[in-house]
C-alpha cells in the first residue's frame, strides 16, 4: 500500500476511535451521575478527556517515529509505526475510560493539555529562528571549508563562474580558479541602500512631520491610506517599474547631461527602493512624533517660539531616538530587499562609486547562485548561504540596535503603544 493511503487509513481509524472514546466517556460519566453521585466535572468534559487520552499519545508516537526516521535515518516501516500508534491509542482509550470517576478533575486535566499544546505552538517561532540559523550556518560552514573566510570578507573579485571546473578536478588551472571575494557585492548593496535612504529618509520624515504637526484631520485620514497603498505594492511590481520605466528615464537624462549610464544602473533600483520605504519611515516616525508629550510643545510655544522652531528645536530632537530606530529598520529592510535589485540592478560584480554604472548586490548573487544549473554541493551554490549568513548577522544587529533605541525612547516618555 502507498504511504498516502496508509496515512489516510490511519487518520480514519484514529477519528473513529476518537468518536468511540467521546461517546463511551460521556455515557459512562452520565451513568455515574445518574446514580446520584456528584462529580467534579461535566460529562462532556470527561468525554473530551477520553478523546485526548486516545488521540494524543497516538499522534505523539507517530510524530516521534517519523522524526526518528528522518533524523537518525532509522528504517521503521510505516505500516508498523502506524499500527503501533493505533495500539497505543487503544491503550489510551482504556486508561481514559478508567479515569472517568467522580473524584477525577477532568476539566483541569484538559486545561493542562491545552496549555501544553499552546506553549508548543509558541515554540514554533523559536524553531523557525533556529531553523534559519541552522540551515544557513551548516551550509556556510561547508563553503568556508572550500574557501577561506578571510578571502571571502576581504577579496575584491567575485568570479564563481569557474567553480564547475573545480568540481571537474581542474582547480589548479590558474585561469579557472573560482574567486569568492565579497567586497564588490557589499559595495553594490551599500550603494543602492544609500541611494534608497537618500530618497526615503527626507521624504518619509518630512511627510511624517507634516501629517502629525501641520495637516488638518481630513488630509491626515486621506494621506495615511494612500501611503499604505505604497507599502502594500509587491516588490516584484516595483522591480518591473524600476527596470522598464525608471531605468530608461535615467539613461535618457544622463545622456542629455552628457553622461554614460548603463540600463542596469544602481540609481533606478535605489530610487524605487527609496519610494518603497517612504511609508515605512513615515508611519514609524509619525507614531514617534505623536508620542512626544504635548506639554513640551506647549512649553515651547509659550516661550514665544514659532511652530517651525518648536518642531526643529523641541519635537524632532525629542523624537530623535525613535526616528533613528525607524531609519535603522529601514536600512535593514533595504539591505535584504531582493526583487527590485534582481530585476533592475546588474549581475556583474563591479567595484565602483559611480551610481550610473551597473553593480550587483548580495541578494542578487544569492538568487543567481540558487537558480543556476549548478549542483547543490558546488561552491557557487554554497556561497549563497555564506552571503545569507552575513546578511542575517547584519540585519539582526540593526534590528537589535533599533529595538534598544526605541526602548530608551519609550522609557523616557513612558508611552506604551510603541
Amino acid at each position: 500500500m502507498q504511504t498516502n493511503q496508509l496515512l489516510l487509513l490511519f487518520s480514519g481509524v484514529l477519528l473513529l476511535l476518537g468518536l468511540i472514546a467521546f461517546f463511551m466517556g460521556r455515557a459512562k460519566a452520565a451513568r455515574v451521575r445518574s446514580t446520584g453521585t456528584s462529580m467534579y466535572a461535566q460529562p462532556d468534559q470527561y468525554a473530551w478527556f477520553t478523546v485526548l487520552a486516545t488521540a494524543g499519545p497516538a499522534v505523539l508516537v507517530g510524530a516521534l517515529g517519523s522524526f526518528v526516521m528522518l533524523l537518525l535515518g532509522a528504517e521503521i516501516p510505516t505500516l508498523y509505526l502506524l499500527a503501533g500508534s493505533l495500539v497505543v491509542s487503544c491503550v489510551g482509550l482504556m486508561i481514559g475510560m478508567n479515569r472517568v470517576r467522580p473524584d477525577f478533575h477532568a476539566r483541569q486535566a484538559i486545561e493542562r493539555v491545552i496549555r501544553f499544546i499552546l506553549a508548543g505552538a509558541a515554540l514554533i517561532s523559536i524553531f523557525t529562528t533556529f531553523g534559519i540559523l541552522f540551515s544557513i550556518i551548516s551550509e556556510a560552514v561547508r563553503f568556508f571549508q572550500m574557501h577561506s573566510f578571510w578571502g571571502f570578507i576581504t577579496g575584491t573579485t567575485w568570479n564563481p563562474g569557474a567553480s564547475f571546473l573545480e568540481a571537474a578536478g581542474r582547480a589548479d588551472d590558474a585561469a579557472s580558479a573560482a574567486q569568492f571575494g565579497s567586497v564588490p557585492l557589499f559595495a553594490g548593496t551599500f550603494m543602492i541602500t544609500l541611494i534608497a535612504m537618500l530618497v526615503a529618509i527626507p521624504v518619509g520624515l518630512m511627510s511624517a512631520i507634516y501629517m502629525s504637526e501641520f495637516a488638518p484631520a481630513k488630509v491626515r485620514t486621506l494621506a495615511k491610506p494612500v501611503l499604505e497603498v505604497l507599502a502594500g505594492i509587491p516588490t516584484v511590481v516595483y522591480g518591473f517599474f524600476a527596470a522598464i520605466t525608471v531605468a530608461p528615464v535615467i539613461v535618457t537624462i544622463a545622456g542629455a547631461l552628457g553622461l554614460e549610464a548603463s540600463f542596469n544602473n544602481a540609481l533606478a533600483p535605489g530610487i524605487v527602493m527609496g519610494i518603497m520605504i517612504i511609508p515605512f519611515i513615515s508611519s514609524l516616525s509619525d507614531d514617534v512624533i505623536n508620542a512626544v508629550p504635548d506639554s513640551m510643545r506647549q512649553g515651547a510655544l509659550a516661550l514665544g517660539m514659532t511652530r517651525g522652531e518648536t518642531i526643529k528645536h523641541v519635537v524632532v530632537p525629542a523624537a530623535l531616538p525613535g526616528i533613528i530606530s525607524a531609519s535603522l529598520l529601514a536600512v535593514s529592510r533595504a539591505l535584504g530587499e531582493t526583487m527590485i535589485v534582481v530585476m533592475a540592478a546588474g549581475m556583474r560584480p563591479n567595484l565602483t562609486a559611480n551610481p550610473l554604472e551597473d553593480m550587483t548586490t548580495v541578494t542578487v548573487r544569492i538568487v543567481a547562485a540558487l537558480t543556476g544549473d549548478q549542483e547543490f554541493e558546488s561552491a557557487e551554490t554554497l556561497s549563497a548561504f555564506a552571503l545569507g549568513l552575513v546578511l542575517f548577522v547584519v540585519t539582526l544587529t540593526l534590528n537589535l540596535v533599533s529595538v534598544i533605541m526605541i526602548r530608551r525612547f519609550r522609557e523616557k516618555y513612558r508611552v506604551n503603544n510603541l
Binding site: I126, P225, G232, V237, F240, I244, G308, N399
Partner: protein
C-alpha cells in the same frame, strides 16, 4: 534700546516665514510621495490595460484531410503568417473531437499572431511591409480587430505571447495561500493566545516575544534559504510545489498574525475575563467562549493583511523553485506550480516585447486582488470595531 521695534518685528516676520517654509516643504514631501503613486499607477495602467485586449482576425478555415495532417493548410496562404501558430496546432485535435467538421469550411474569428496584435496596438512589430498591408486591409474590412482577451484569464503560461495567460499562476497562488493559511492561522492564533492569556512572565516568554519581533524583520530571502535547506533538502518536500511555497510563506506570515492577534486580544477589556472567571469558568473556557469571539474581527483583519503580504512575496518562492514554466493548471499541492508574482517575474525576463504588456496586465490583476483584500480588511475593522 539696542533694537528698535522695527528690527524686532522684521526678525519676527523672518521667523514666521521660516516656519511657513517648513510647512510647505513638508507638505511638498507628502505631495511627492503621492505623486510617485500617481505616476506609478498611470504607468502600470498605460502598459497593462492593452493586455486585456487581443487581436483576432476573421479568416476562412478549411477543415479537410490535408489540414488534419498539416494544420497550416487550413487557412489561406496570404494570412498564414498572421494567425497564431499555437491556435493552428490545436486544429487537428479539434477535428478529432468533432468529426462532423471534416470537409466543411467556414468564416471564423481566430486568434491572431502576437506580432499582429502588437501592430494593431501601434507598438513596434517584426511584421514586414507586405504583411502590414494585409493587416491594414483586413482591419479596413472589419476582419481584424481587438477583442476582449479571454485567453489571458483562462490559460497558463506559454512561450507565445498571444497564448500566455495567468490562470495557472492564479491557481498556484490560491493553493499556496491555502497551505499558508492552514498552517499559519492556527499556529499564530495559538501562540498569541498562549502569550497573552496563559504564559507566565518569565525568561522564556520574553525570549519568545523578542524572537517574534525579530522574525518580522528578517529579510524574506532568508526564509527562502530556510525552505530550501529544511523543507526541501531535509524533509524531502517536492521542489516547486505549492506545499513547500506555502510552508515557507507560512513561517513569514506567522509573526504578522501573532502580532495582530495579540493586539486584538489585548483590546478585549479585563471586565469580560473577570466576569467569566467569576461564574466559575476555567482559563481555557474564558478564552474560548468569551475572549476569542470578541477578538475575532481583529484577528481576521490581521490575517487578511498577512495573507495579502504573503501573496505579493516573490523572493523566497524563487529560492524554493516556484518560478517553473507551468503551461497547465496543476492538480495538487505537491505538483510543480507557479504563483502570480513569480509569473510576473518570469514574463518580465522574456525578451519578446509583447510580454511587457502581459507583465503589466498580470501586475494589474495582482494589484486589484491585493487592494480588494486590504479593502476587505479595512471594512471588517470599521464594521466590527468596538469601543469599550
Amino acid at each position: 534700546m539696542s533694537q528698535s521695534f522695527d528690527e524686532i518685528s522684521a526678525q519676527l516676520k523672518r521667523r514666521h516665514r521660516k516656519s511657513a517654509r517648513l510647512k510647505w516643504l513638508s507638505m511638498g514631501a507628502l505631495g511627492l510621495a503621492g505623486l510617485f503613486l500617481v505616476i506609478f499607477f498611470a504607468d502600470m495602467l498605460g502598459k497593462g490595460l492593452p493586455a486585456f485586449q487581443q487581436a483576432q482576425i476573421r479568416v476562412e478555415v478549411t477543415y479537410s484531410e490535408q489540414s488534419q495532417q498539416l494544420p497550416l493548410a487550413a487557412v489561406n496562404e496570404d494570412v498564414r503568417e498572421l494567425v497564431s501558430r499555437g491556435w493552428l496546432r490545436t486544429l487537428p485535435m479539434m477535428m478529432r473531437d468533432n468529426p462532423q467538421l471534416l470537409g466543411t469550411s467556414r468564416q471564423e474569428w481566430v486568434l491572431a499572431d502576437g506580432q499582429v496584435d502588437q501592430y494593431l496596438k501601434g507598438h513596434y512589430t517584426r511584421l514586414d511591409d507586405d504583411e502590414k498591408e494585409i493587416v491594414d486591409a483586413l482591419a479596413e474590412q472589419g476582419r481584424a480587430e481587438l477583442q476582449f482577451n479571454t485567453t489571458f484569464f483562462s490559460r497558463g503560461d506559454s512561450k507565445m505571447p498571444e497564448l500566455a495567460g495567468i490562470m495557472s499562476a492564479a491557481m498556484g497562488t490560491v493553493m499556496t495561500l491555502l497551505v499558508t493559511l492552514a498552517v499559519s492561522f492556527p499556529i499564530g492564533v495559538m501562540t498569541a493566545v498562549y502569550l497573552e492569556e496563559f504564559a507566565p512572565d518569565n525568561r522564556l516568554t520574553q525570549i519568545i516575544e523578542i524572537n517574534i519581533n525579530n522574525l518580522a524583520a528578517i529579510p524574506s530571502i532568508l526564509f527562502g534559504l530556510l525552505g530550501l535547506a529544511i523543507f526541501i533538502n531535509f524533509f524531502g518536500v517536492p521542489r516547486s510545489s505549492p506545499l513547500v511555497g506555502g510552508l515557507t510563506l507560512a513561517l513569514m506570515t506567522l509573526p504578522v498574525i501573532i502580532i495582530a492577534t495579540r493586539t486584538a486580544l489585548r483590546s478585549v477589556p479585563d471586565n469580560i475575563r473577570h466576569a467569566a472567571f467569576g461564574v466559575g469558568c476555567s482559563r481555557w473556557q474564558v478564552v474560548r467562549d468569551h475572549v476569542l469571539p470578541l477578538a475575532l474581527p481583529g484577528i481576521m483583519t490581521g490575517s487578511i493583511i498577512g495573507l495579502a503580504q504573503a501573496m505579493g512575496e516573490t523572493a523566497p518562492l524563487i529560492i524554493v523553485g516556484m518560478v517553473a514554466f507551468i503551461p497547465d493548471i496543476s492538480a495538487s499541492v505537491t505538483d510543480a506550480a507557479t504563483v502570480l508574482p513569480a509569473q510576473i517575474f518570469t514574463w518580465a525576463g522574456e525578451p519578446d516585447r509583447a510580454f511587457v504588456e502581459k507583465t503589466a496586465g498580470g501586475i494589474l490583476v495582482l494589484l486589484t486582488i491585493l487592494i480588494a483584500m486590504n479593502a476587505t480588511a479595512v471594512v471588517l475593522r470599521k464594521k466590527f470595531e468596538r469601543r469599550w
